[in-house]
Subunit: 420 residues, 2 copies
């Protein structure tokens, strides 16, 4: 008998019929002799509908109240799943994030989990119940207000509960049946991976793979929680995220996959005076606006002692960053802020890079052969990322996937409605 944590995403819960199918899987897992804890996201469009209502009453709604509003979505889906479980002859209790002991910081809209004290979940399990926990939400340690964990927060709830309960596995169900060597909608012969070490999954998530949210993988790695990525529409085995690349013998280390990201934009600040502190002033200005940046490029100075500074950031933060930088233009004495949102990022990830020095060369050769120009390049020990034109992104993914012979023999299955 194992302790299993299962997480179901919004598309798996978008209708009463889908909720019943999810309940069947949960009950089957319980009847197979396991203790079962389930984390549900809000049903399909609920969050968008609530956001729309909020927008109608206040275009800039207070964040505390936004958290109170949005967390109702998971409360609804969890209660409905509990009812569907009951209709199938098992019994479940649903808990809010607060009731399940998910204690967070007080940053509304993007809180971090500080502690998980799931005594009520444990009690429910000991009494033979299935325990359902509303994902994405917690309660602030300081203010006791309801908080939300930001994008992908339900994954993090599931992993954090699995860690606190010392679960045997954390199963993440969505409309994708595993982690692939590339997006199967771009690369038809992309291959499903059986196992991916934490470090590689972190790099994939940070490089645009939306299978698992970055923070949930960080959490799983820290506490050694094995994550199983599976489809809620099939019984096929998925991908297990577990283990460290340090445990892989050097000669077996491989290239794992290609990730891509269309969500970034590029900002270039031109004619920046090349003195100590100028770059720092630019990045401090962006950081003070609570904006994360990703890739950075500083050109060497020209003969006039001026340089250009380029960085990428989420498109959603683009206009805000430009506005903040324009404010310090005269003070800092740079020429202009250029904004470009027609960029894309393609990344290659694999522990094998550490021991195979030719990977960067092969990567660049493949792009060159496909006629793709590189604008920024950025690497970690097990990843290479480049910024290119967005129109060339699909071609670049295919070229790299082929150059590193990542494909399988059969076509990948892409489920209808797979919108992520």
């Amino acid at each position: 008998m194992a302790l299993v944590v299962q997480k179901y995403g919004g598309s798996s819960l978008e209708s009463a019929d889908r909720i019943k199918r999810v309940a069947e899987r949960i009950v089957a897992t319980k009847k197979a002799g396991n203790s079962v804890v389930v984390v549900c996201s809000a049903m399909g469009d609920t969050t968008d509908e609530l956001l729309d209502l909020a927008e109608q009453v206040n275009p800039v709604p207070p964040e505390r109240e936004m958290d109170m509003l949005l967390t109702a979505g998971e409360r609804i889906s969890n209660a409905l799943v509990a009812m569907a479980i009951s209709a199938q002859g098992a019994e479940a209790w649903s808990f809010t994030g607060s009731q399940a002991g998910v204690v967070t910081t007080s940053v509304h809209g993007n809180a971090r989990i500080i502690d998980v004290t799931p005594s009520r979940v444990t009690d429910a399990l000991e009494q033979g119940y299935i325990a359902l926990v509303a994902g994405f939400q917690g309660v602030s340690q300081d203010t006791k207000d309801i908080t939300t964990l930001g994008r992908g927060g339900s994954d993090t709830t599931a992993v954090a509960l699995a860690a606190a309960l010392d679960a045997d596995v954390c199963e993440i169900y969505s409309d994708v049946d595993g982690v692939y060597t590339a997006d199967p909608r771009i690369v038809p012969n992309a291959r499903k991976l059986d196992t991916v070490p934490y470090e590689e999954m972190l790099e994939l998530a940070a490089s645009g793979s939306k299978i698992l949210h970055l923070r949930s993988v960080e959490y799983a790695r820290r506490y050694g929680v094995p994550i199983s990525v599976r489809s809620s529409y099939s019984d096929k085995p998925g991908t297990t995220v577990t283990g460290s690349i340090e445990e892989i013998p050097v000669e077996q280390a491989l290239i794992t996959g290609v990730a891509h990201d269309r969500s970034e934009a590029k900002i270039t600040v031109t004619g920046v005076p090349d003195h100590a502190g100028a770059a720092a002033r630019i990045f401090r200005t962006v950081a003070d606006a609570e904006i994360d940046i990703d890739m950075v490029l500083q050109n060497i100075s020209n003969t006039a002692g001026r340089t250009d500074i380029t960085f990428t950031l989420s498109k959603a933060n683009g206009p805000k960053a430009v506005g903040e930088l324009e404010k310090i233009k005269n003070e800092l004495g740079f020429s202009a802020v250029l904004y470009d949102d027609h960029v894309g990022k393609v990344s290659l990830v694999g522990a094998g890079m550490r021991s195979h020095p030719g990977v960067t060369a092969s990567f660049c050769e493949a792009l060159a052969k496909a006629g793709v120009n590189i604008e920024i390049i950025n690497t970690s020990e097990i990843r290479i990322s480049v910024l290119i034109r967005d129109a060339q992104l699909d071609d670049a993914v295919r070229a790299i996937h082929e150059a590193f012979e990542l494909g399988g023999d059969e076509e990948a299955v892409v489920y209808a409605g797979s919108g992520r």
Copy 2:
């Protein structure tokens, strides 16, 4: 500066526009120098939509989960009202029933308030915020599970908070602008009452008036909370429910109003052996099924030593009661269970009845003149109720209203959409 508790019903909150209008009234009350606590019901159709989803996944959903589901509705409306208040330049914090300290019994679906410990509400008021509290919900003292207070529960939340906070007034806003001498849709010259004592309001609520839920009036009476019944669509003064009939000098005590009720059905058990304990057995059987009964009539025995026992109950419980009684038919040896759901109840309420012995006679004469036959009659010190055919209910209300000269000089205003 006063402490005002305001309660808004679902029809006052059914759209973003209505929410904004409610927010305007709340902000105006605050800007007039008052401390303001607001209790909101769920938006218009939210509860019905959630019930429909529940029905789809489980026709007999577990009550604990039903409470978890339905309470999401008030959470949504309260957060939206807080956002709308913020858009109008004031600041509000919304609280769940649990956060506001509404502690209840653990009877899911029909919990009773045991205690209200609103320290977070008080803190919010002291910091200058408007405090919003989700109506209809609380937290069980024993299990710490989320509970609901049953039909009309948000009125009770508002009155209980007003009592705990020692508020100056509890204003109940809906689409009706006060308590009338009769339903204005039936009696066009029904008159709005300025003040109604608690005892009379209790009798009116128990007799079918839906303006205030019975339990909220009981609570207000016990703690001496003045209730002001007002319309959310106008600024006209409403009706104040306050004071005791004991304070009214006998010579000023009057007949107050006519109430009617279409929600009851009549059950007659015929040929009941007339021995000690037979009636008790019948009423115990109904009580054990958790069914409340209202009026009771036992005929005198016929020559065969048998009698008929008649009682009324909510139509919703009719089929269940019949089923339970059929089970004891052979054991008790009665002839049959007759069910009749074409009955209606009309009641006259007023403290003046205590000192004017002719009221019952005038009441029955008015019905006789209108050709209405009385099936059961039932009285309290300040109320007369009779059961009649449902098709004659409107005629009966008008006849009594006229006989006791309760009407005013002008036509009552009935608001569009007034569906209660």
